[in-house]
Amino acid sequence: MAVEYQPKIVGFLCNWCSYAGADLAGTSRICYPPNIRIIRVPCSGRVDPLLVVKSFQQGADGVLIAGCHPGDCHYSEGNYYARRRLALLHTFLEYIGIEKERFQIQWVSASEGKRWAHVVSSFTEGLARLGPRETTLHKETV
């Protein structure tokens, strides 16, 4: 029996809004695909593009970054920096051959449990349609 392709997604969620929102989805028993592996960060502004590129190099098929809505950052400004940095990263990833559908940035607040589930579901479905990331770059040499 063929195993259906399951995309591997790495999620960077800010502690104060998005992670809490994901928790709310969980406590509200809202189902969403389990493909996402969540990494909690203090703020979306902490997400270094290095973390994203490294996730792809290690075999992730998609990377999702979620933070507080602009204006609502727990640290006041972190997500403003993130917005600039990650907007540029999105274009850059596409330029080096990582399709833009594989990288998403979403603002998800602590009260948006349902929205979180929707974000993850549609991201996962899109990646499943896209297929695994075809690259020779994370094969061992030597």
Partner: protein, 286 residues
């Protein structure tokens, strides 16, 4: 173009008056054709200095080895942008540097002599033939040519399909030998501990392999986003001819379009990634 005489007389003046301890300029290399950096400490040595269209190197990185010493430096317009960057980022003090700026018509292709007239690709889209800052100017400023498309190389890459781009970069990154010449020559790369040297956590590690090479080259380019002054040294020194400028200039083009910013034009404008605009919309999650 040959400004060797003017450079020599200015260098002699600065050393003899004690204004500086050292001039960083250029001399002829051992093949008799290309140029190489030269550090002159004695007025009697100034006759080794040259300046012509073979002087490709960006010498500003050397200023970071002489932070507390009065130094004069010969700069082309692209190099002068690096000085603005370093002042803006508090890496050098303006009053310690005597800048001998040169009006530059372009540098010839690698290996060619001064008379060849064949400019290197990077110089063909140059829009700044007069240095942006200097204490002494060599050469006559002329009006800037109209360059309708400043990024044809980047647009060419953007026009390729995703699959073509992926294949292209996979091939390029598998050639990288991680010599770090690109980093060492770059005036914007001055971290005391580079992310690639960090071994705990080991972001990249020591393995020389295509996947790791991809992380190295793309993140180095990203660390220069909004900071790269487009001198093209990284690409020029790469021993395996990886077109690194295609990475840096893509980011430069995007930063210019998104934030109306070009690195190194002055030393005061806040850098785009150390500031923000609350109201801006950048196409994320709207």
């Amino acid at each position: 173009m040959d400004f060797s005489e003017e450079i020599r007389s200015k260098a002699k003046e600065l050393l003899e008056s004690g204004t500086v301890d050292c001039i960083i300029g250029y001399e002829r290399a051992t093949d008799g054709v290309v140029a190489r950096p030269l550090f002159v400490y004695q007025p009697s040595n100034v006759d080794r200095l040259i300046f012509d269209q073979t002087c490709a190197h960006n010498l500003t990185k050397y200023l970071l080895n002489r932070k507390d010493k009065a130094t004069a430096i010969v700069v082309k317009p692209c190099d002068s942008r690096a000085i603005n960057l370093l002042i803006n980022e508090s890496q050098i003090q303006r009053d310690k540097v005597s800048i001998i700026g040169v009006v530059c018509p372009g540098i010839v292709k690698a290996g060619l002599d001064n008379t060849s007239g064949e400019l290197q690709d990077a110089c063909l889209t140059c829009q700044q033939h007069t240095p942006v800052l200097y204490d002494f100017l060599v050469g006559e400023p002329a009006s800037e040519p109209d360059v309708p498309d400043a990024y044809p190389d980047v647009s060419g890459m953007e026009d390729k399909s995703a699959g073509e781009r992926r294949a292209f970069w996979e091939e390029q990154f598998s050639r990288c030998i991680r010599c770090y010449a690109c980093r060492q020559v770059c005036p914007g790369c001055y971290c005391l501990e580079c992310f690639v040297e960090r071994l705990d956590p080991m972001w990249v590690g020591i393995r020389i392999a295509p996947g790791e090479n991809e992380v190295w080259n793309t993140i180095r380019a990203f660390h220069l986003a909004g900071r790269c002054i487009d001198c093209n040294e990284c690409e020029r020194v790469c021993p395996v001819n990886i077109p690194l400028s295609l990475l840096n200039r893509k980011l430069g083009k995007e930063v210019e379009e998104l934030f109306n910013f070009q690195a190194g034009i002055d030393a005061e404008t806040p850098m785009p990634f150390s500031t923000f605009d609350k109201e801006e919309k950048l196409g994320i999650s709207e």
